[in-house]
Amino acid sequence: MKRSRISHTIVLFLLGMTVFCLGLQNLSAQDNSKNKVRLKVDYVKIINGDSYLDISTGARIDKKNVSVPYLDLLIYNETEQDEIELGTITTNPKGKIKFVLPELRSMLPDSSQIYTIKVAFKGNENFKRASKSVSFKDANIAARLITKDSLNYISATLTDAYSNSPISDEHLNIQVQRLFNPLKMGEEFNNTDDKGMVLVPIEEGIPGIDGNLLIEVVLNDNDTYGTIKAIVEAPIGKVIIDESTFDKRTLWSPRDKTPLFILVFGNFLIFGMWGIIIYLIVNLFRIKKV
């Protein structure tokens, strides 16, 4: 009797567990019907400027990659012990957002000076929860404009911020800021030498507003250091001159800028003809009066 009771209890327990698991499946089944959010996080540091995370949220729905807008995200500084919340943010209508990080001093790295930031999405009725971490070490780019023999160069040095030692054999993009995409200077790969330096000539005659060019020195998407960008103001550009005819009197200008010939001649004809017409109409009244 005792044995059967034990076995009965075991069977009952197993039965109960199965049913419970089925029930749980219901729970997670609801979760499975939701889509997965893909978080893309890039760390960007602007020298003498902000450091920020470039975050974009997307999903693969019906075999197409789409951006997912208006998602609430939490950002944490992950340390060896703990997660320190840095803030919350919501992605914009295009599913992108920039989260400005506080100064590195206020964050905690791990023992090898690596900072880890986590971006978490808690999930909502349409999407599962997701999170992405990005780790980076702090580095600096010191860039300046050099003019040698009336030729212009950008000289840049890449150093590790903690140890101040140069970082060699990394390739830097030297590029001029333009409207859509920047204009690249130098070689396809401008690699830093053993002193962490690159020297890149800047092409002649690149136009800029008032002759000013904004030249970026960028370490792009590095595994260790993330993206670092230094901006050099270089007044070496060709001055942009407004060539448009917008302010001139032309045939295609709006009516307030009619060419003078048309304005004068046209009005002369119009007033001339209508002046005579008015005189004639006055004559009609004169005839009546007589």
Binding site: L251, R255, T258, I277, V290
Partner: protein, 440 residues
């Protein structure tokens, strides 16, 4: 000739008979049909036409150009003949003035039919750009309307006074209206002085304004890059074409009015002979400009020009082009060179051919050019490579022509079609009778 009394009786407006009323009814029906079609165009948009992004102007524009051309008759028959001291013009000028006014008014109406957004008509005045040839048109058309009205009205004043007396007993209400329009005309020297000075000014003015009107009409086309339009020849070509269309129209209307009002005494074979010679002259001038326009480009045969001339000479518009040129222009010249060709009945048929030819000629000017643009016609339905007006376009266009005829008929009904006072003066009829203002 007869006495003054008889003159007035002959020339005074008469009541409509059954035939005239039927004619008015017929025209009114057409006009109403046109109105209905136009309202449908307003509601649905111009997709009721057969115009497309390539044939973007069609029969509405060629009809408009025809009306502008016909309105030149005032400048020719009144101003030019006056300046050249052709005194035989007297019995013809009133009708010429009537046709001028009606044509230019219909031109204004017709161009508004082509506007796809007539609800924004005021933009043409509020936001007008003087650089645009359309703005020049917007200026010159109202100007010409007013001038041609003045040209019609000033010589009418003494006639209104005469008619006021003529109808005083028989039709007092009508007499009152004539009286109002007569502006207290008594024939006094002071009034005559103002009137004749004014007429002199108008006659002088209407010629340059008329030339300007035809020129601006031509420039609507020749200020574009289109092959077949981009021609330095266009303005004089249009001016001479307007003379042809105008005089042709004048002869047609004069013949009909003379017949129905029994004015054979006043408008004689002599007048027709003279008009025939005038028509021959202007047709020859027009032929000259046609040769400049269509023959000379053959010498260089630039690709675009060659395509255009091919279309007209041997291509899809060749039948129309040759009919309009040979039958509409060359044939009249040949017939009119003979004295018998200038007899009234022959003149009427020739003039009719000339007018119909003029109307289709403008179709040939507007449409073929649009169907061979610089870039090949691709990426649009096959039907877009051709154009023939739709039912809506035909009804609306025919109704504008009907409206023109209706307006002419109404004016001919109420206005003396031959200037009474002037004719009396020229014939030196009994001055005493005139001064006593005999009631009849």
């Amino acid at each position: 000739m007869n006495t003054y009394k008889a003159l007035v009786k002959d020339l005074a407006p008469k009541k409509f008979h059954k035939k005239d009323q039927l004619w008015m009814l017929f025209l009114s029906v057409i006009i109403i049909a046109g109105l209905v079609a136009y309202i449908d165009q307003i509601l649905q948009g111009q997709k009721v036409t057969n115009m497309n992004d390539y044939a973007l102007w069609g029969i509405y524009i060629s009809n408009f150009v025809f009306f502008i051309a016909t309105s030149f008759v005032g400048s020719v028959a009144v101003a030019i003949l006056r300046l050249t001291h052709n005194n035989w013009r007297t019995p013809l000028v009133r009708i010429a003035e009537i046709i001028t006014v009606v044509s230019i008014v219909m031109a204004g109406i017709t161009i508004m039919i082509d506007m796809a957004r007539p609800d924004r008509l005021m933009n043409l005045f509020l936001h007008a750009r003087l650089q645009s040839p359309i703005t020049w048109d917007v200026v010159i058309i109202p100007t010409y309307i007013v001038i041609s009205l003045l040209l019609l009205y000033f010589p009418l004043i003494p006639d209104f006074a005469i008619l006021k007396n003529y109808f005083r007993k028989k039709k007092p209400k009508l007499s009152k209206w004539y009286g109002k329009l007569a502006l207290n005309w008594t024939g006094s020297p002071a009034q005559k002085a103002i009137q004749s000075k004014s007429i002199k000014i108008i006659a002088l003015m209407i010629l340059p304004v008329g030339l300007l009107l035809q020129t601006i009409d031509a420039w609507l086309f020749s200020t574009t890059y289109r092959i077949g339009w981009d021609s330095t020849n266009f303005a004089p070509y249009f001016i001479s074409g307007a003379m042809v269309a105008g005089i042709g129209g004048l002869i047609c209307v004069i013949y009909v009015v003379r017949h129905y009002k029994k004015l054979e005494k006043y408008i004689t074979d002599f007048h027709f002979d003279k008009m025939g010679k005038l028509l021959t002259l202007v047709c020859l001038i027009y032929l000259y400009f046609n040769i400049n326009e269509y023959v000379i480009p053959l010498f260089t045969a630039k690709k675009g020009e060659a395509t255009h001339l091919d279309t007209l000479f041997t291509g899809s518009y060749s039948v129309l082009f040759w009919v309009v040129t040979i039958i509409g222009l060359v044939l009249p010249i040949i017939v009119l060179l003979f004295k018998n060709g200038r007899k009234p009945k022959s003149m009427f048929f020739i003039a009719l051919i000339v007018v119909i030819g003029s109307w289709w000629k403008r179709y040939v000017i507007v449409t073929p050019t649009l169907l061979h643009p610089f870039l090949p016609i691709q990426g649009v339905p096959e039907s877009w490579r051709h154009y023939f007006p739709s039912f809506h376009e035909w009804i609306i266009t025919i109704s504008t022509l009907a409206m023109a005829l209706l307006l002419i008929t109404i004016m001919v009904r109420y206005l003396p079609v031959i200037p009474i006072q002037r004719t009396a003066d020229e014939l030196g009829l009994n001055k005493k009778e005139q001064e006593e203002n005999i009631e009849l």
